[in-house]
Symmetry: C2
Subunit: 212 residues, 2 copies
Amino acid sequence: MSPRAQTGGVPDGARSKDKILAAAAQLAKERGLHGATIAAVSQRSGLPASSIYWHFSDKDALFAEVIRTSFAQWLGTVPQWTAPDAATLHEGLQSILGASTRTLRDVPDFLRIGMQVLLDQHDEHASAREAFLAIRSQTAAMITAYVRQALGPDSDRTLAEDLATLVITFSEGLLVGSQVYADWDPDEYLEVFLGMFDHAASSRAQSASRAG
Amino acid sequence: MSPRAQTGGVPDGARSKDKILAAAAQLAKERGLHGATIAAVSQRSGLPASSIYWHFSDKDALFAEVIRTSFAQWLGTVPQWTAPDAATLHEGLQSILGASTRTLRDVPDFLRIGMQVLLDQHDEHASAREAFLAIRSQTAAMITAYVRQALGPDSDRTLAEDLATLVITFSEGLLVGSQVYADWDPDEYLEVFLGMFDHAASSRAQSASRAG
DNA sequence: CTTTCTCTGTAGTAATCACTACAGAGACGC
DNA sequence: GCGTCTCTGTAGTGATTACTACAGAGAAAG
């Protein structure tokens, strides 16, 4: 991977880039996106600003990359949305959403930063916003595919899409709530949500079969 | 109210304060909290920075006041949560939540600014965050009281509180979603949500009556 | 008139921001 | 050796930030 085999305290691009990304993510979590200044990232990573700008074109590109890598890491720790191995949709969602919301307690950086760039409408965050929207779409597609697979091939596609939107909406709302109550119990709201989810799925499926 | 009756283009404190608040709210909506600089507020309000700092101690206090006044205005336009006039809880929630989510399309300033100061952890937003948390608690109490009144005096209090939390969580998630899809239909998700809400209320009420 | 109070206009402050110019270090290919 | 490429260190840039010092305008009170 690295274009040069490193031995000592010698400059290594890949390692430095990782250190910059880690420092940026850490600072954005602690102080928010606005508080994570280039100077602060430089200080925490131990690398000068010139190194940051050698690896990234600007601050926007840096945090777009932070969002992408943080999402990739989160994907690795969370059970796959790809293949349902549980008996029912409810159980499958319970295990997967349970693991997801539990990791939400640690508030993955991509989600918090992404919501910040969404709310803080500003052109200087264009790349970061684009990265987060891509991730959001990807996640929605994953959930949609999972639900459709569980509901059967003849299930309504818009139903699965709406339920996926529901999951994402609720998750993002939960993230805001977790900022208010540090000691919230994700399992409690997961139970409530799953009950609602079942109800929405069954009633919508019925009305869909009635309609067509 | 005003300590001095004004006639022409003469300095008037109350009027100027309103202009500053309006400009600050407008700019925070357009450019985000960070983009709403004192210089920008000064320019849009037509008043110098010294006037802003005469009315408000600092930027934090200004936006704390913006949050409070915006919330008060929103409370005036939205039907009361105080007295349920509909036959069922479902219908009451439908009319009230419907009106509320419809006003969410215009994204009340207090909600967007409040979520920004929640996510952007920074001490410089301490007053604004405090103001928003107070508003959040007040709203939760209003919804809780409404639900309890509708469910009857012997209803479980934690049930009503959880349902209120549910409403707020979902609303805040919807606000994020509305930033992604500008042309979202609030009524559509309201329908889904109300179905879920009913399910949660009924199942929780049953389990509560079983438990005690 | 003089005094007093509220608010505004002018002109700044130091600090911090993202970002850059540029030389050079250190490992490689030849 | 010599050039080349990647990355770092130093030292800065101008712009913008929140915020302020201070005089004075203008109306009311005496």
